[in-house]
């Protein structure tokens, strides 16, 4: 069964460093999302992406964050100058044209900023 794949599963980085979280959405999907979940807290929407541009972003998604679809398969989230409070599980999700609302989630990347 097709699935959303995220790498790495766990990343440890030093405060101030840049990280890139990678996602391979399901191949025929056109809608892509990033969410984060700080340990013990609720899942928070970061950004949605369609047709090679951001369609919606939350107040969390400030200039520190950027997303890119560098080729036909990968969807990346870049966090510049990481802060301790960026430590969280980051989920990528994708949806297809017909079932765009049924977002399929990847297994997440646990980011730890030290």
């Amino acid at each position: 069964e097709p699935e959303v794949t995220q790498t790495p599963s766990h990343q440890v980085t030093q405060m101030g460093q840049e990280v890139i979280l990678r996602c391979v959405p399901i191949s025929n999907h056109l809608y892509f999302y990033w969410y984060r979940q700080i340990l013990g807290q609720k899942v928070e929407f970061l950004v949605s992406f369609y047709n090679n541009e951001i369609s919606e972003k939350s107040e969390i998604f400030d200039d520190q964050f950027s997303v890119e679809r560098p080729d036909g398969s990968n969807f990346t989230l870049k966090i510049r100058s990481t802060k301790l409070e960026d430590s969280a599980m980051y989920f990528c999700a994708s949806g297809d044209v017909d079932r765009v609302n049924e977002a399929f989630f990847g297994q997440g990347t646990r980011l730890t900023v030290v």
């Binding site: 972003k57 399929f104 990847g106």
Partner: protein
């Protein structure tokens, strides 16, 4: 401010019990209400509700949406230990931005 509120936050039941999980929402340009089950890591999709009063059913799980009162419920009948998880409700806006509630942690004891 958009918000999604779930209740209860935590629930402990015994196998065979029936549970009802609640979700209320206030979301600009609301389009749909979604339920997810989160076990170890990623949420997995359960239901999407767009129309009021139409029950969606999948096995022992069912859900319904009330767009007038701005809430949804998720029912699980004859609970099993495998139903233990965090159940997340999310409201979807016009731009496909999902706002999640804090979740209900369900524990089903043998």
């Amino acid at each position: 401010e958009d918000k999604v509120v779930q209740s209860p936050l935590s629930l402990v039941v015994h196998e065979g019990d029936t549970v009802t999980l609640n979700c209320s929402y206030e979301v600009t340009n609301f389009r749909s209400l979604l339920w997810y089950k989160q076990e170890k890591k990623a949420p997995t999709f359960l239901f999407m509700l767009t129309s009021s009063g139409i029950e969606k059913k999948s096995g022992r799980l069912s859900s319904i949406l009330d767009k007038k009162e701005l809430f949804s419920i998720l029912n699980i009948t004859a609970t099993q230990t495998g139903d233990s998880a965090i159940y997340l409700c999310a409201a979807l806006g016009n731009n496909n931005d999902m706002r999640f509630g804090a979740g209900t942690r369900l524990t089903v004891k043998p």
